[in-house]
């Protein structure tokens, strides 16, 4: 009984701030009419049907593709970084981990704005190219800029979980593998990588989820007409005032993320059994 009492405040918190809003979004997604007059709302599936048009599906596809590319780049950059960190001596390691975390203390919006001043037509990079007498480049408002923004902002979320898992691997396990005849490559292939899979899985999840739903990065670095699913939702709620369609898109995105997570989870469990190689 005591347990129940202790968990009560959290339960209330969850109900007010998670369950209730979710139900609200679900409710709006299956209705149409005037949001101001709840009694006049009618049940409908039109919001979902509407999303099945090619231009919306394209937005969804592009969001998923960009998030996927960013996640892969984060993994390729982040894994070696995490390894270097994990193998460092205590003092340097703490300092470097701090360096990874410090940018996260700064406002997310501010960090993304900073990239605009770097990449813009009159930005630092183009000024420098001008100074060297080279032609200027269109760096802003394209897929590349958006991916750069995502990788820059979400890389720590890839590095830190992998780093945590790697630094927990018992050194004597690695020594045992060397002792049994494995060189460095084999040690990585057969011991370090398989044991780090849980970190990789949580890194992928933690990068992919915010990347697929972002609207700030895509708006600032992708420009006004650049549309990702996050922008679409934002637009429906704040510009078009179609809460019903916005809610429907949110639900679709949530289902997508849930499927992706379930898939990763299954992947993770399979790997822990150690039967990948």
């Amino acid at each position: 009984m005591k347990k129940n009492i202790v968990s009560f405040p959290y339960l209330i918190w969850m109900i007010i701030f998670t369950v209730f809003p979710l139900l609200l979004v679900l409710f709006f997604s299956f209705t149409e009419g005037n949001v101001q007059k709840i009694s006049e709302l009618r049940f409908t599936l039109d919001n979902f049907k509407r999303f099945m048009q090619p231009n919306y599906i394209n937005v969804l596809g592009r969001s998923a593709a960009l998030a996927l590319v960013s996640t892969i780049i984060c993994l390729i950059l982040g894994y070696p970084m995490a390894m270097i960190l994990a193998n460092m001596e205590e003092k340097k390691r703490k300092f470097l981990v701090l360096l990874f975390i410090v940018p996260m203390w700064m406002n997310f919006l501010l960090r993304t704005y900073a990239w605009m001043t770097l990449l813009g037509k009159q930005g630092l990079i183009n000024r420098f190219l001008e100074f060297l007498g080279l032609p200027t480049l269109n760096l802003l408002y394209n897929n590349g800029a958006v991916i750069l923004g995502m990788v820059y902002n979400f890389l720590p979320f890839m590095v830190l979980p992998i780093y945590t898992v790697l630094s927990k691997i018992d050194k004597s396990i690695i020594e045992a593998a060397e002792d049994l005849g494995s060189n460095r490559v084999t040690v990585f292939r057969k011991i370090i990588f398989p044991l780090s899979i849980p970190g990789v899985v949580s890194g992928i999840t933690m990068v992919f989820m915010p990347a697929v739903s972002t609207f700030v990065i895509s708006r600032l670095l992708g420009g006004n007409r650049y549309m990702l699913i996050g922008n679409l939702i934002e637009q429906q709620f704040l510009t078009v005032y179609d809460w019903h369609f916005g809610s429907a898109i949110s639900i679709i995105m949530m289902i997508m993320i849930l499927i992706a997570m379930a898939f990763m989870e299954k992947f993770d469990k399979d790997k822990e059994g150690g039967r990948i190689w």
Binding site: D170, D179, L180, G181, S182, T186, L195
Partner: protein, 349 residues
């Protein structure tokens, strides 16, 4: 006898951040012997083992393996396998995969791997455990898997770093006998690290006692126990009474304000020495017959014998005896000349 030596350590020293961990270690290991590095924690025994395994580089000195210097040979190219302190089994593999790991890397044919794993599992009494998850096994079973994983590669030398440290007393005793038995059967050189003197005495052909990065004594268990070279060894191996004394001349020693005939010589005249007398070598006699006399201050029952502390002037003596004298009784103590072990003072090198 020269070609019987498999490993030879020559003038090995090791410093960590300017601190000496090993100082001028010289030792050789014979084929098929069970050699134990014994000492308190921090004495350098594990470092010595890790240098032999290739996980540490000596600061100076050479490691000779079958006549060849192997200082620069990485661990995975040495014909040596290790059983680690905490077993270090691969948590993401089952028992079979763990044991087969080394053989797979050596590209041994599949059917031969299967056969060898089965044979080694039988040796460690775990037949039928192939598909078990290593983390579901008990400490003793994990220990055997770790030994099997090393032995299956048929190394020339097996290093064991306090492998029984995490097991309970009963299991330890069983495993000690099993290990010794296994070593005889497979005919592989075992180098064993422990801080447990009883374990060392039970299992070893040769014991190397280490302290503060130096070898204190090398010898058979009997030598080490009966003829400890200095007070440290005497104290570490079993219980001892260590008394300061003076070697008056050959065969005559003075301690506890009394002169005693002894069997040691060659210390010079009037040299300060340490005297070691084992508690079981002191006989309790009526007060008037004793060479020394005292009052019993405490009695502890130890199973086979009683451990008594006896206050004699300002010294306390420990006596092991099967006959109990009650606390407060006045007793006499006698010992044979052979029981008086005279040693050079430690710390004066």
């Amino acid at each position: 006898m020269e070609n019987n030596i498999i490993i030879d350590l020559k003038n090995i020293s090791k410093q960590y951040d300017g601190v000496d961990v090993l100082k001028d270690i010289n030792l050789y290991i014979r084929k098929n012997e069970f050699l134990t590095l014994l000492g308190p924690s921090g004495c350098g025994k594990t470092t010595t083992l890790r240098i032999i395994g290739g996980f540490e580089q000596p600061s100076t000195g050479d490691i000779i393996f079958e006549g060849k210097r192997i200082n620069d040979v990485p661990p995975y190219k040495r014909q040596i396998n290790t059983v680690f302190q905490k077993y270090a089994l691969f948590p993401h593999m089952n028992v079979f995969e763990n044991i087969a790991f080394g053989l797979k890397i050596k590209k041994v044919p599949k059917h031969e791997i299967k056969e060898r794993v089965q044979r080694i599992l039988k040796l460690v009494n775990l037949s039928g455990y192939e598909n078990r998850d290593v983390e579901s096994l008990s400490g003793g079973q994990q220990q055997r898997i770790a030994i099997a994983r090393a032995l299956v590669n048929e190394p020339k030398v097996l290093l064991l770093d306090e492998p029984l440290g995490a097991l309970d007393l009963k299991l330890r005793k069983d495993m000690q006998i099993e290990l010794k038995d296994m070593q005889k059967r497979v005919g592989i050189t075992f180098i064993y690290v422990t801080h447990d003197q009883e374990e060392a005495l039970t299992m070893s052909d040769t014991i190397i006692v280490m302290d503060k990065g130096r070898i204190q004594q090398i010898g058979t268990p009997e030598d080490i126990y009966n003829e400890p070279k200095n007070a440290f060894v005497a104290d570490f191996i079993g219980e001892s009474n260590i008394i300061e004394g003076t070697m008056v001349r050959d065969l005559l020693v003075e301690f506890a304000d009394t002169r005693f005939v002894c069997v040691d010589k060659g210390f010079g005249e009037n040299t300060p020495v340490d005297i070691v007398i084992r508690p079981e070598d002191i006989k309790v006699v009526p007060e008037e017959e004793g060479m020394l006399t005292g009052i019993v201050t405490s009695v502890t029952f130890k199973g086979v014998h009683y451990e008594m502390l006896v206050q004699e002037k300002d010294r306390e003596w420990m006596i092991h005896s099967t006959v109990m004298e009650p606390v407060g009784s006045h007793i006499g103590m006698v010992f044979e000349p052979e029981s008086i072990h005279v040693m050079k003072k430690v710390g004066e090198r």
